[in-house]
């Protein structure tokens, strides 16, 4: 049957057009019940005979029908394993998809889960359940009616089978109408409470109704916040420049302050005070109204944590705002929320004496998120646990947002719990691989199929070896070197052939793509692909036949490439060396076996290559890297050191760079529209101001007009007597740069493919497919362009590739952040109950703080300098010269200082590494040195050797 769907739509240009679309109604759609024999069987039926959990409210066997609001707000309830046999109507699904895409995806995941028995009923295309919108009926009312009609149809359809249907809706009007029509309809809370054996499920319910109730009974409760302006008014306001749109960022230090970045202003707009923040939560997109210029203030630069539970009228007078004209920023207030970006938050319950109480306050571990009021009956067990909570709403009358309990992670302070919190807070997919992913793996024992030898080149006779850090199990690169008759040398870069195992579109591929990268925490690795592949079948282990993708170059003795070839191969590595072992083989000139000779040859070539790169303008940057010695049993850190770089590190790096550059050139030519490349934009010159100023103070001139000049001046920047100065300078200049990103070649003009740091016109990642997804894509592209493999649709679709690159950039960034947090967590565990004095250098100088780098551990920390009340010393900050004078002592960038490291418990969930200044001695600011240090290998610092500057 054919129906016309007619509606009126407004286009972006503001024209009104009438859209008429066809709408076919079908009679071959099934009801989805396993009991029903009458329905056509085109879609597999799912709904079973019985609900998993018995309800005292509806003792008979029944299916659940949910309305849109339940789907939108009670997702945690729907995800609970006790809730099964639910009919999700198409009307509901479409509305959810329209309103919130991430929720839509979650519901889709539940539907795909066979155990949950959720069935999607296409009621909009079903002949018996389709309804027309009546004149004067709002689209919401029409949808509610459609849900009721579909429920009624189910009731009639299933009557003879002894199964009923129950409509779950929190909308009173809808419920009344349903009951009037003879249907069973309940509130979610009512229904959940009636379920047997699911007492804790009530905690998962969201406060959907709360918001409405309080707005209705406005009179008897005090409103804390002003009402949000409607979305329509916001749009109008933005158009007429009355409001400005921007992303809200709460301040880390002060819960009463937040910033909004608007396009219209150079500086971030500052929002101060609870009232003006008006229920904006970190990362929401908000509309702000700007105050007249006379009311503009600066950031208060004071630290204020939300400790007062009852304090309702925070006075702005408590926070002295900077009124100095130089620091004044546009100031305003939040008038409306354009888009909430709420997620699930990790944290703890605020300890109370009465754990029987149902209402509790939840403190998120992210300081920028406000406290959340939740209801739970399990407070006694959850009290000292890390838990996950989700925000439901923030009514005007409530100081804190209302939320509900989602799940329990584990006891507070436990290393595993804390690690999981890190992973959750950084949005790292870390759950074990699902069965469908594991099904894609080859069966063990595995051996190379015979036909692979036909397709591939057999290079097992070559002397291939790998060089990696100690303890590395995912070896994805190996090298070989041999002299050719004509005086040239042949160098092979062999990369693990993951693309052979991970076929496009398989569950394994999708999972790897979602993860994007392996994440290396201090004592744990979260693999991108399952362990069988990453540390066995793909790892190029010694003395085992392995599949590889090889880039083979013929090079002249002075490092020029005369010939290049990319091919899939079979290799057999003769040795898996560590950097140190390889270094010994190279240095020991008595050894003349092919392996050592090969390494020496590679090393010679690598030096030439490095020279060429540096001449072209490549930068050698530095960043402090920390390595922990982990106790094998307790997994606690017992030692800490900075990573040491050997000549062999640089050797491997050179050949990887070479292979990456060559592959990038090749795939860019083969697929100009859809190659996955990596670019590093050149930073704006103003980024370097700080560096240039700071170096000038030390009497060193740094020129930054091009990467080549910067490399040159960094090479020659030395302060006599301070060998570490050069490294510091490199660390600081790294901070001035932009982030390197993956991109799809067709999306940008060719000039922008440039890689600033490496000074090459085109670059990509090819050499670590086991731990990076982009490399896998590059492998596929390269395999297609040399004729070993076929392309597939998505690989050639540049919009799709662009989308992938965006995700990969995000994952890469998150992985870096979590790595840093993991290091912080371990340092903190290491320094627990320790207190040491250490040598450090000043990296940056701020108005009331210095950022220092402890050289021995590579730790970085901010030291806030505050004078105690008796000795009122004067702070004098000169931004130009990067200089902070306190009393008579001057602190300058790159100065050497001595700091005291200890761990401080500032709150139950934030344990923090705290550093204090010891030397130079500033009365009232610095602390007394300790001469007793813990740990047997720690040396005693000698403060006398340092002169206060």
């Amino acid at each position: 049957m054919l129906k016309a769907k007619t509606f009126v739509k407004k286009t972006k240009q503001g024209n009104i057009i009438k859209v008429v679309r066809e709408h076919y109604l079908r009679d071959d759609l099934s009801c989805g019940s396993l009991l029903c024999k009458g329905c056509p069987n085109l879609m597999p039926a799912k709904l079973a005979q019985q609900q998993k959990a018995e309800s005292s409210l509806v003792p008979a066997s029944h299916y659940l029908v949910i309305d849109t609001n339940v789907a939108l707000h009670q997702i945690d309830f729907l995800e609970d394993p006790n809730i099964t046999d639910v009919i999700v109507l198409q009307t509901v699904l479409q509305e959810v998809r329209h309103l919130n895409d991430s929720l839509y995806k979650r519901i889709r995941t539940i539907v795909e889960d066979g155990k949950k028995r959720f069935y999607v009923m296409c009621n909009e295309h079903h002949r018996s359940t389709y309804i027309d919108r009546e004149p004067n009926e709002s689209s919401n009312d029409r949808n509610d009616r459609a849900i009721r009609v579909a429920t009624a149809w189910y009731e009639g359809h299933l009557k003879n089978l002894g199964v009923g249907v129950v409509l779950l809706t929190n909308d009173r009007d809808n419920r009344d109408k349903a009951i009037k029509a003879g249907l069973k309809a309940y509130q979610v809370v009512e229904y959940v409470k009636s379920l047997k054996g699911c007492a804790n499920l009530v905690d998962h319910l969201s406060h959907e109704g709360g918001a409405k109730d309080t707005t209705g009974a406005a009179g008897d409760r005090k409103m804390m916040y002003e009402e949000h302006v409607s979305l329509y008014q916001v749009k109008q306001g933005i158009k007429s420049n009355r409001y400005y749109q921007g992303k809200f960022e709460a301040s880390r230090e002060n819960y009463l302050e937040g910033y909004v970045s608007c396009h219209a202003f150079d500086k971030q707009v500052i929002i101060r005070g609870l009232k003006h923040l008006n229920r904006a939560v970190h990362e929401d997109v908000v509309a702000v109204e700007i105050f007249p210029k006379s009311q503009w203030v600066g950031s208060s630069s004071t630290v204020q944590l939300d400790d007062s539970v009852a304090a309702e009228d925070e006075d702005l007078n408590q926070m002295p705002a900077t009124a100095e004209s130089a620091y004044i920023r546009p100031t305003g207030r939040v008038v409306g929320i354009i888009k909430r970006n709420w997620r699930n938050y990790c944290g703890v319950l605020l300890p109370t004496s009465n754990t029987d109480n149902v209402r509790h306050i939840f403190v998120p571990s992210e300081k920028r998120i406000p406290r959340i009021r939740i209801e739970t009956r399990q407070a006694a067990t959850l009290m000292s646990h890390r838990i996950v909570v989700s925000i439901d709403c923030w009514p005007r009358s409530s100081r804190y947002p209302l939320g509900h309990f989602v799940r329990d992670i584990g006891p507070l302070g436990d290393r595993e719990t804390e690690e999981e919190v890190l992973l959750l807070e950084h949005d790292i997919p870390h759950l074990p691989f699902s069965q469908s992913v594991l099904d894609c793996l080859p069966k063990l024992p595995w051996s190379i199929a015979d036909y692979e030898f036909v397709l591939r080149e057999d290079l097992r006779h070559l002397c291939v070896c790998s060089v990696d850090p100690p303890g590395c199990t995912d070896i994805d690169d190996a090298l070989h070197f041999r002299k050719l008759g004509n005086g040239n040398a042949e160098v092979g870069v062999h990369i693990a052939d993951l693309s052979y195992f991970v076929r496009p579109g398989s569950a394994l591929d999708l999972e790897a793509q979602k993860r994007g990268t392996s994440v290396y925490l201090c004592d744990k690795r979260i693999d991108m692909v399952p362990d069988v592949l990453s540390s066995n079948l793909c790892s190029l282990r010694s003395n085992e036949d392995r599949l590889a993708f090889s880039a083979i170059f013929e090079m002249t003795p002075d490092g020029q490439i005369v010939n290049r070839k990319f091919c899939k191969t079979v290799i057999r590595s003769v040795a898996s060396l560590t950097y140190a072992e390889a270094q010994i083989l190279i240095d020991d000139t008595n050894r003349v076996d092919p392996l050592s000779e090969g390494l020496r040859g590679l090393n010679e070539l690598a030096k030439k290559l490095k020279q060429q790169r540096i001449e072209a303008g490549a930068l050698t940057l530095a960043s402090p890297e920390v390595r922990f010695h982990i106790d094998s049993e307790t997994h606690d850190p017992i030692g800490i050191e900075t990573k040491e770089l050997k000549e062999t590190n640089s050797m491997i790096e050179e050949f990887m760079l070479l292979a990456n550059c060559e592959v990038a050139r090749y795939i860019e030519k083969a697929f100009p529209q859809c190659a996955v490349l990596r670019r590093h934009p050149s930073p704006p010159l103003s980024n370097f101001d700080l560096l240039v100023n700071a170096a000038a103070v030390k009497g060193v001139k740094v020129s930054c007009s091009s990467n080549r000049e910067l490399a040159y001046s960094l090479e020659h920047a030395d302060v006599p007597g301070d060998p570490f100065f050069n490294i510091l300078l490199r660390i600081v200049s790294t901070r001035c740069m932009m982030q390197a990103v993956y991109f799809c070649s067709g999306m940008l003009p060719e000039e922008e493919y440039f890689h600033y740091g490496l000074a090459v016109p085109c670059y990509t990642h090819f050499t670590s497919p086991i731990r990076r997804y982009p490399d896998l894509l590059v492998h596929r592209l390269l395999a297609a362009s040399v004729g070993y493999d076929k392309t597939y649709t998505e690989l050639l679709d540049r919009n799709k590739v662009h989308e992938w690159c965006e995700n990969l950039n995000y994952r890469h960034h998150q992985a870096q952040l979590v790595q840093r947090s993991s290091i912080a967590l371990h340092t903190q565990l290491y320094f627990k109950e320790k207190c040491l004095d250490e040598d450090a250098y000043i990296l940056f100088v701020r108005r009331n703080a210095i950022v220092v780098l402890v050289r021995r551990y590579g730790l970085e920390s901010t030291i806030f300098l505050k004078s105690d009340k008796q000795s009122n010393v004067e702070f004098n900050y000169e931004e130009e010269k990067c200089k902070l004078t306190i009393g008579k002592v001057t602190l300058q960038m790159f100065d050497r200082v001595i700091v005291q490291i200890s761990v401080e418990d500032c709150s139950i969930q934030h344990r923090k590494l705290r550093m204090k200044l010891v030397n130079p001695i500033i009365p009232g600011v610095s602390v007394e040195p300790i001469y007793v240090t813990l740990g047997k290998d720690d040396h005693l610092p000698k403060p006398d050797s340092l002169k206060p500057s």
Partner: protein, 247 residues
């Protein structure tokens, strides 16, 4: 609300399954003045075709002594789409479609039977909701039959796109604008010879065989419907002259 092109339940945005065609309605001989005419509706796409000829070739320069020539003009009615367009005299796109239809029928019409003459085809799209070119070809086939011009076979056309590995046949306007490949095929179903094939955007090689196979099936389905209509019309026309046709 932008609905999904193909839902997980296997329904398209208008409720069809991937290989289902839109409702097809056709009528022959509806234009009085023309030698042959047909109106074909596929869903909300509605095309009227009038055929004049074969008549003596008006222009001496284009006249062919061996066979007849076909001229085709294609026009989209200004009221035919969601946004009213200003009428343009020489619209490049329309000219292109005109030439395409002309080429298609030069392969199907037995032109050698009418040397030195000309056949004029006027295509008017009254309503456009996707697949206008295909509907135009189907309507032209009927109009030529209506005009009694001998052809080798019916020419049936069908459009398709590929979405997530499944082929969607007879696509509507919404599906056309989904950035997927736009594939169009005109076939003479009896011999299964392809007369016209057009592809906009990129289609991956892996999908080509599948798309061609499915689309030919779509064309066959259309041919069955057109054939039924032609036979009905023949019976009616014969009845008017009191002749019993052999069907």
């Amino acid at each position: 609300m932008a609905s999904e092109i193909l839902s997980a339940e296997g329904l398209r945005c208008d409720g069809r399954r991937p290989q289902e065609m839109r409702k097809l309605k056709c009528e022959l001989g509806i234009s009085e003045g023309a030698d042959g005419s047909a109106l074909v509706e596929q869903g909300y796409t509605k095309v009227l075709v009038s055929v004049f000829g074969p008549h003596e070739c008006a222009n001496r320069n284009t006249r062919n002594h061996e066979r007849a020539i076909i001229s085709c003009s294609y026009n989209l009615a200004s009221f035919g789409s969601a946004i009213r367009k200003k009428k343009m005299n020489s619209d490049k796109k329309s000219t292109e479609v005109g030439v395409m239809i002309q080429n298609t029928f030069e392969a199907a019409v037995m032109l050698e039977k009418f040397p030195k003459s000309q056949i004029d085809i006027y295509v008017q799209v009254l309503q456009g909701d996707g697949g206008e070119r295909c509907v135009a070809i189907n309507a032209t086939t009927l109009a030529l039959i209506n005009a009694g011009i001998p052809m080798k076979d019916y020419v049936c056309a069908c459009a398709a796109t590929v979405y997530q590995d499944s082929v969607l046949l007879d696509i509507n306007n919404l599906e056309e604008s989904s950035r997927g490949p736009l594939f169009m095929l005109a076939v003479m179903p009896r011999t299964e010879s392809i007369v016209q094939l057009q592809l906009d955007h990129r289609l991956h090689n892996d999908h080509l065989d599948k798309v061609v196979k499915e689309t030919i099936q779509g064309c066959r389905d259309i041919q069955v419907l057109l054939d039924r209509q032609v036979k009905e019309w023949t019976v009616e026309a014969a009845a008017a002259y009191d002749i019993k046709p052999r069907v």
